[in-house]
């Protein structure tokens, strides 16, 4: 399948990217790894007249802990996240999300910035990052803005980016002691989008939950934060009855639609099951000690 014709740019710096975005407002798309955009273009569901590739923009693939945050450059490939000992050891939820994005070949080119900025509710990172209280950094000719991911994800495939802004990086607060995270995905086979998936984060302090995050994938118009389930956990001991009640509240926050993968009620039920399992895993990891 051949995409519609377009003009391609691969500028060497962000100022040129902003200029191009401004010159071709409404007709240009940013190209990161291309693993979602190119299939859309081949189906002609997307027909941008201009593609602006970020591959020559320096400094966009940083992956490091700095000033209390994990900073993930927008051009960090999924495969790099999956292979990073820092991510494997300190951010198991991000590791688990990276490892279930599409398939290993796609992950060699797909980027986390693309996964987030594409704003597809079926993408795996946003829910996990919501649970981890991630912030995103946008840069444009008028400066740099940082906002919670919650505010960045506006609607299906719609973000808070201005027409001339670029998503630069994603910042995740470094885990406090006794923090655990996990991401669990239900998919029919490798490479599929989630039927439902859940990302959770729990911090324990003196045996009770002092912080909790729960994000849901592909059961609504955007990735969803299950706020009621989160607040329910705070100040409680993470016993089985508590985790089950939190899972029930998370399922209530889901807003799935029926499709070939199953009716909405099935998906809601899967959210409940996955949330309970992910919470048990995150609590175990938190109890195991580290800033995990």
């Amino acid at each position: 399948m051949i995409p519609n014709d377009f003009t391609y740019f691969a500028p060497g710096g962000l100022p040129e990217v902003w200029d191009l975005l401004r010159q071709h407002e409404g007709e240009a798309k940013i190209l990161a790894g291309g693993q979602s955009l190119i299939p859309l273009m081949k189906f002609r569901l997307a027909e941008p007249a201009y593609l602006i590739d970020l591959r020559n923009v320096p400094g966009m693939a940083l992956l490091e802990e700095r000033d209390g945050s994990l900073v993930i450059g927008a051009m960090v490939r999924e495969a790099a996240l999956e292979r990073s000992p820092l991510i494997q050891q300190r951010y198991p939820g991000i590791y688990e999300a990276s490892a279930v994005v599409a398939d290993p070949l796609v992950r060699n080119f797909a980027t986390i910035g693309g996964n987030v900025a594409h704003a597809d509710p079926a993408n795996d990172h946003p829910a996990m990052l919501l649970a981890l209280r991630a912030q995103v950094t946008a840069q444009g000719p008028n400066g740099t803005r940082t906002m919670p991911l919650d505010d960045f994800l506006v609607d299906t495939m719609e973000t808070a980016l201005q027409p001339d802004e670029v998503l630069i990086d994603i910042r995740v607060p470094q885990p406090l002691p006794h923090t655990g995270s996990a991401y669990l995905k239900l998919e029919r086979k490798v490479g599929d989008y989630a039927i439902a998936a859940v990302g959770v984060m729990v911090t324990l302090d003196g045996g009770v939950c002092s912080r909790a995050g729960i994000g849901l994938t592909n059961v609504g118009p955007t990735a969803i934060r299950a706020t009621q389930a989160e607040s329910f956990l705070i100040g409680k001991q993470p016993d089985e009855a508590t985790l089950r009640e939190a899972a029930r509240l998370a399922a209530e926050a889901a807003d799935p639609t029926s499709d070939l993968h199953g009716p909405a009620e099935y998906k809601r039920s899967m959210v409940r099951t996955l949330t309970a399992r992910a919470l048990r895993l995150a609590v175990q990891r938190a109890q195991a000690g580290g800033g995990q």
Binding site: N4, A10, P39, K42, L51, D103, P104, N108
Partner: protein, 187 residues
Amino acid sequence: MTQHVTLTINGQPYQADIEPRVLLVHFIREVAGLTGTHVGCDTTSCGACTVLVNGTPAKSCTLFAVQVDGAEISTVEGLEQGGKLHPIQEGFFEEHGLQCGFCTPGMMMTSVAFLKEHPNPTDDEIRHAISGNLCRCTGYVNIVKAIQYAADKMRSEQATPPESTEPAMPATPTTPAPTATEAEAVR
């Protein structure tokens, strides 16, 4: 508007003025005339079009050629060296790792990159590595066996320097396998 693109495919340079919408797989098949790389599903699912881009396996139906301008590409045609099959090709032959053969070029390119990082893989690791490559004939059992065959062969070639087994052949440049610790680090 066309754009000038230069790719090195299996060590040989190819240049062309192409439209930016030309996919890497079409550059390989139509500009370079190397039709060993197959277009299967054309929707990023099947992996029949897998090639190595600077050593990293990628679905060439989901990259524009302009995106990888200047890159080193390896395709199935580059596996055989001096009339001698690559161990992965020998493995697919010996273990009956194919029936119709359509997925085979992609399976082999994914495997070649995987075996460089995992010289002593488990069957599970192999199945995980080829999970982006679909075969509709074999049920994968013989494909896994073929990749294990290649792993064995490549390990024994590493243990025995090529010049001692083939004194008449000039030393062929081979990429050294990573050490055990390097291989661990990427798991």
